[in-house]
Amino acid sequence: MISLWRTSRWYGQVIGVNDVTCEIGPGLTALLGPNGAGKSTLMKLITGQLRPTTGRTLVFGERPFANTRVFRRIGYCPEIESCYEDMTGREFVRMLGMMAGLTPTVAERRTDEVLGAVRMTEAAHRKIGGYSKGMRQRVKIAQALVHDPEALILDEPLNGLDPVGRREMTALFVELAGAGKCVVVSSHILYEVEQMTRQIILMDRGRLRAMGDVYQIRALIDAHPHRVAIVTPRARDLARRLLEFPYILSAALDGSDDTKLVVETRVPDQFYDDLPRVVFADGYAISEFDSPDNNLEAVFRYLVKG
């Protein structure tokens, strides 16, 4: 649905996006990166607010810049906080629906629907000037949805929402993605992103660092072998025992009383097969074990900081 080919965009000397090639299809994809990585630029390129300086950006097979056909099929929820303070929430959403090409009757109906979906039905008749941060955010999400677009580009959509709201909106996005829409969410809150999807696009300083399933990416980061933390009373013994395996690269003891052990290996699959055998054979009492860096935050940290 969205495809970029060697797309670059710079502002004077400052590089926004540098030679990015990727394809984004239906489903929920997370767009991640530190501040200044080029995520906003990428989103602006996709939503047709900017033209690439070199390369090609296609959305639904067309160039999105100033292209109303594309605009009608894309919904964008930007990060900015200011709004038309004097309009009510309902008026605002309806106006944007009509701008996206809906007829007044359809716009009215859709406005009701999306306001219900974002739980703003009661407050919709009040002026936006009196809204709290969370309410504004919901209205922004509503305006992105009102024209039932096939693609949704959401920039920090959960910003300002309380935990209940975050859960509700996350469920909404997952539902929309499940229905076949292409949903791109940009967020800094990694643990939330982890719960939404496993497909990520990671950017850093304008360049595309990684794209795909987060666990596959993790498995490919050779420079940082997998770490597994094990909590057991006889940690030192277990360490000695595990070091007998050739694929264990290191075993570090953690904790002042020798109860925690962290091993490193490049073949975690093998390790997880062998661990139960060791436990049964020598009777170690393991209270917990897990891999502290087999998650999105570790991937982010390893790839962005290098």
Binding site: N35, L161, D162, P163, H188, F280, A285, E288, D290
Partner: protein, 304 residues
């Protein structure tokens, strides 16, 4: 001694009550103040800061009454606001030492202390640049610095990780953890990001619609009854679930290759049972952890 308290406090915005008959005590240490939007958390903090007048009831901070000793209170508390709040035209050093002087420090002490606090917050050479040129991460650090410069005993942090990228969040949380543990400063953290609160606070207070609905230590609130573990397999395996059920476990929830299992109180060594069941069903166990209720679950239950 309670660090801050409210007694039958009612605060109104115009006609509309934001907080009604609230009685709450913030103990020493680091406390998370949670609640959905409109719960009255901000109102409560603003009442303690003296921005709002109580309609009825009383509130006190560090043993001083808000109604009578507002100025004295503000000498000993610091606020890190949620929004950007720098004073334009200054660099970090001028800004933080200005904040110190406003709090009553003599000018030379304020300057020295500003440098010290900026160093602690991780601002190196950048402290001599104008604040307008700063990134979000640096602005958050300055906000923290201006709250700390006069050595407050109580610190209010409103969304401390607002707008920060993942690296910035990690750094800020580390800073908040450092301040709130072992430095003899009491901290109240207001945040919608519950894992942040889990990370930095020992106790939480949950509010809803101007009322107190739950409070307690994070550890106690997160404890589950009985013996519960979270197990992650390489791939989802119904055979494993059957096998483990035979050991007397109850499957509480399943999400993909993860599941939460519960046994009765007397069960010892659940790990062995899990491994046995996995061996029997040819599944591979990739993680095994004692289950804790997430703070989010605690929160949802409290406000339901």
């Amino acid at each position: 001694m309670p660090v801050a308290s409210a007694n039958d406090l009612t605060v109104k915005y115009g006609r509309k009550p934001a907080v009604t008959g609230l009685t709450v005590t913030i103990p020493e240490g680091s406390v998370g103040l949670l609640g959905p939007n409109g719960a009255g958390k901000t109102t409560l903090i603003k009442t303690w800061l003296g921005f709002l007048r109580p309609y009825s009831g009383s509130a006190s901070v560090l043993g001083m009454s808000v109604a009578q000793e507002g100025l004295r209170i503000r000498r000993h508390i610091g606020l890190m606001p949620e929004q950007d709040c720098h004073i334009p035209g200054m660099n970090a050093v001028s800004y933080v030492s200005y904040a110190g002087e406003l709090a009553g420090m003599p000018a030379n002490h304020a300057m020295r202390r500003a440098h010290e606090v900026l160093e602690y917050c991780g601002l190196g050479e950048a402290r001599y640049r104008q604040i307008e040129t700063y990134s979000t991460g640096m602005r958050q650090r300055i906000k923290l610095a201006q709250a700390l410069v006069h050595g407050p005993r109580l610190l209010f942090l409103d969304e401390p990780t607002n707008g920060l990228d993942p690296e910035g969040r990690t750094d800020m949380l580390r800073l908040v953890r450092d301040i709130s543990h072992g430095k003899d400063i009491n901290v109240v953290v207001c945040s919608h990001l519950l894992p942040d609160v889990e990370d930095t606070c020992d106790r939480v207070i949950v509010m809803r619609s101007g009322q107190l609905v739950a409070e307690g230590t994070v550890a106690a609130l997160r404890r589950t009854g009985g013996v519960q573990v979270d197990v992650e397999l390489r791939e989802p395996s119904p055979r494993f679930l059957e096998a483990i059920a035979l050991t007397g476990a109850r499957v509480i929830s399943v999400l993909g290759s993860r599941c939460r299992l519960a046994w009765s109180e007397q069960t010892t060594d659940p790990a062995t049972r899990v491994f046995e069941a996995a061996a029997a069903s040819e599944a591979q166990v990739r993680a095994l952890k004692p289950a804790l209720r997430s703070l989010e679950d605690v929160f949802m239950e409290a406000i339901a």
